[in-house]
């Protein structure tokens, strides 16, 4: 998952194609240590802007570790690690299903430490996949379209609203194009798994000529400039971070249920610098104890208390169940149904 797919200028200026790498790199940054002794190679889906505070803090604690930080999309990341066997020490991704597949298919190393033991059971799998953030998918409503407190907070209410006032929202509802967005696909499959309302909502949105997006950034852009009134299944942490830049929208945590994505780290099975990768995993696993980093990165740390205080929050479960939606036949059938619903063909 990428936070942004637009900053082509940055890509142009920073992308220097690795000769051996057939996968597509979005950005690459090297953080040289003051006293370099080792190098930690990370492949990640998180933007540099988001992750840099964490990397810098890590380097303050471990001043001898240089960090090579490579950013790629979830799909490209999977391609690099799973298919092409690129050498990275640590794989950080928001695609829980793909991270699970990495571990299931033997591309991850087992690691246990007091820090990982302290993680709740739902935040790790096989001692190979370690979650360090919990980020809900949210409903974004334009303030112009919903100036008052009268706005939907559940899927049922949303469906009713869209059905009742089709003219008001025609062409002004947006969601992920799950065919190209890994995050969108994962959220859609989880929605479908949890509730039959998903297909009804999709059909309603299809009838209103819903607009499909590659990424959260574009959706928020259109909300801000008034093209969209409603954006469904936007990554909450990103929307929260962007709210400061101009605002103009409302973030709604659905009261019936809100899927929570866990950003996870995996130590690659072919890692060359296992030690530093492990230190980084410990560092990430204890993110909760660094509120400064949480604030700087906008990444909410693992917090069981928050989940207990709001029963609608449902962390997506790590484990073999996630593999079901990666099955190509299942995916093909799902996408076929999705297309049928959303395009109303």
């Amino acid at each position: 998952m990428r936070f942004a797919c637009l900053p082509a200028a940055i890509i142009a200026s920073l992308t220097f194609l690795n000769a051996a790498a057939a996968f597509e790199i979005e950005e690459r940054a090297t953080y040289a240590a003051s006293n370099p002794q080792t190098e930690l190679r990370i492949i990640s889906t998180a933007d540099r802007g988001v992750f840099e505070p964490i990397l810098v803090a890590f380097q303050q604690k471990n001043p001898t570790v240089s960090i090579d930080y490579v950013i790629a999309s979830t799909t490209e990341l999977m391609k690099a690690v799973h298919e092409e066997g690129e050498v990275f020490d640590l794989v950080i991704s928001s695609a829980m299903d793909l991270q699970t597949k990495l571990a299931n298919d033997g591309f991850a190393q087992t690691y246990r430490s007091p820090a990982t033991d302290a993680l709740p059971d739902w935040a790790k799998w096989r001692d190979q996949v370690f979650a360090f953030t919990q980020e809900p998918a949210v409903l974004i409503l334009s303030e112009k379209a919903f100036p008052t407190d009268d706005y939907p907070t559940s899927r049922d209410a949303l469906i009713d609203l869209l059905r009742d006032q089709p003219d008001r929202f025609r062409g002004r509802v947006g969601t992920y194009d799950v065919r190209i967005s890994g995050f969108g696909y994962m959220m859609a499959t989880q929605d479908a798994r949890v509730s039959e309302n998903f297909w009804r909502l999709l059909e309603v949105m299809g009838r209103l000529d819903a607009r499909l997006y590659c990424c959260s950034g574009a959706m928020l852009q259109d909300i801000r400039n008034g093209d969209l009134a409603i954006a469904y299944n936007v990554l909450g942490s990103y929307a929260q971070a962007q709210l400061a830049d101009g605002g103009g929208y409302r973030i709604v945590l659905m009261s019936d249920f809100a899927n929570i994505m866990l950003r996870t780290a995996v130590i690659s099975s072919n890692a060359e610098n296992v030690t530093d990768a492990q230190i980084m995993v410990d560092f990430l696993a204890s993110l909760e104890s660094r509120p400064d980093l949480v604030a700087a990165s906008g990444l909410p740390a693992i917090d069981t208390d928050a989940l207990q205080s709001n029963v609608a929050l449902r962390p997506i479960r790590l484990g073999p169940g996630l593999l079901a939606f990666l099955d190509r036949l299942t995916r093909r059938n799902f996408l076929r149904n999705w297309e049928a619903s959303i395009t109303q063909e």
Binding site: W125, R126, A324, T330
Partner: protein, 460 residues
């Protein structure tokens, strides 16, 4: 049959045997518990795998003449409920992979519609357990054979197995320890009758030759009955011996008494001094032999009784008074006076009354014998620090004889040729003293005539 020292103890042998059996049972218990638990764990995994394969099979459908499938989320997620094992699956239609892991091997044992098959093999670096199920699905009117395989690594099973092994080891160990402790108790309790029997025999006084009245366990009945037979024989034999000794003493002493009486009568009637002297010597010879016989019997009795000392509470003051009273006539004959000093409340002493009386009598007898006419014999009982009986006379003492040798058998002072004696008196007293943990002390009276013979016992 002889055993090495360790195993000569029945208890040790019993205990070792029971402990060995416990150890075997513990190992067996360990193996059974682990085997059962592992079988159960494996069955559980097989059951979940089967459920998963069935769930996938049930999702098969035909669409546009093709077989297709929406992999149920639960089919795979259920495999992650009990452990974190890796999961692989493959769906084949007529031998062609429909979806899943292409390289997952085909089952060696082909499943049928009614029977799933299981296989265990290495796959992608781990041992996996695979279930295969078979279904026939009609696609476009043509029945196709669909093979569903679901595999899962067995790390969770290994972890369970490890945990079970640890528990089984614990159970086995606890069983062993408990069983061993119980063996110890059992061995002890099994041998308690023996201990009681031993105590019953040991407790007996020297003269107690009644049969054992205890009710032994069945196994010990022959032994107790044999022991009782032996006791009966011993008692009969002892009675015979006692009767024999009594009879012998009677047979010897009665004629001696006759001779002595006649000799005294004759002595009285004789007038010539030389005849009278001869008769006197005869009488003294008779006295000497009878006295020796008496002391020999006494000494034998002392030896017998000290082997198994009777223990009764004795009022020592009373005992001394009685013995003195008994010997007073003999002292009177010589105008000797026995002066008795006994504390008002002499301590009770635990010991053999007959032996103690014999010792005191022998000491007093000696003192009277060696006392000059018109002399005093001081008998003093004290109970300060030790229980001490001093018998002090004004006789000739023991001369230069080493006081220690006086205690030896048939040893007499160097200056007593003119007095009848066997030399056993002090030996008897000494043996009695030692049997009671005390000593016999012989001291010369400083600055005065005579000697002091003391019995010294520790206060109880």
């Amino acid at each position: 049959m002889t055993f090495p020292p360790l195993t000569r103890s029945i208890r040790t042998r019993l205990f070792l045997q029971l402990a060995a059996i416990s150890a075997l049972l513990s190992v067996a218990l360990f193996l059974v518990v682990r085997g059962l638990a592992e079988t159960a764990a494996e069955a559980t995994q097989d059951g979940i795998l089967s459920a998963s394969a069935t769930s996938i099979a049930d999702a098969l459908r035909s669409e546009d003449g093709e077989i297709t499938l929406d992999l149920p989320y639960s089919a795979l997620s259920m495999l992650g409920t009990t452990n974190d094992d890796r999961v692989f699956y493959k769906v084949e239609v007529n031998g062609e992979t429909l979806t899943g892991y292409d390289d997952l091997p085909a089952p060696t044992d082909a499943p049928t519609i009614s029977r799933n098959t299981f296989a265990t093999f290495d796959y992608r670096g781990d041992e996996v357990r695979m279930v295969s199920a078979s279904r026939t699905v009609s696609a476009g009117g043509v029945p196709s054979n669909v093979l569903i395989s679901v595999a899962q690594t067995r790390l969770g099973l290994a972890a369970i197995s490890q945990r079970i092994s640890a528990i089984a080891t614990g159970v086995g160990l606890v069983f062993f320890l408990v069983a061993t402790a119980l063996s110890l108790l059992a061995a002890r309790s099994a041998l308690r009758p023996l201990k009681e029997l031993t105590a019953a025999v040991t407790r007996r006084g020297p003269a107690d030759l009644r049969p054992l009245a205890i009710q032994p366990p069945t196994e010990l009945e022959p032994f107790v009955s044999a022991l009782n037979t032996f006791i009966a024989r011993l008692r009969a034999s002892l009675l015979r011996s006692e009767d024999l000794i009594a009879e012998a003493a009677h047979r010897v002493r009665t004629p001696l008494a006759t001779v002595r009486a006649k000799a005294e009568v004759t002595h009285r009637k004789l007038n010539k001094p030389e005849h009278r002297q001869t008769m006197r010597e005869m009488i003294r010879a008779i006295d000497e032999s009878s006295r020796s016989a008496g002391q020999l019997l006494d000494h034998a009795m002392v030896t017998f009784r000290t082997d198994s000392l009777a223990t009764e509470s004795i009022d020592m003051g009373e005992l001394v008074r009685e013995t003195v009273a008994r010997l007073e006539p003999a002292a009177d004959l010589k105008d000797a006076t026995i002066r008795c000093t006994i504390p008002k409340q002499p301590p009770h002493f635990t010991g053999d009354r007959i032996l103690l009386q014999s010792a005191i009598q022998n000491i007093l007898d000696n003192a009277i014998k060696y006392s000059p006419d018109d002399s005093d014999i001081a008998v003093t009982l004290t109970a300060v620090d030790t229980l001490r009986l001093d018998v002090s006379d004004q006789g000739r003492g023991f001369g230069d004889t080493d006081t220690n040798t006086l205690k030896a058998r048939f040893s007499r002072g160097a200056n007593v040729d003119d007095i009848v004696g066997s030399g056993l008196g002090l030996t008897i007293a000494d043996e009695v003293a030692r049997a009671h943990g005390g000593t016999l002390a012989i001291t010369r009276n400083e600055g005065a005539k005579g000697a002091c013979v003391s019995l010294v016992f520790p206060l109880q």
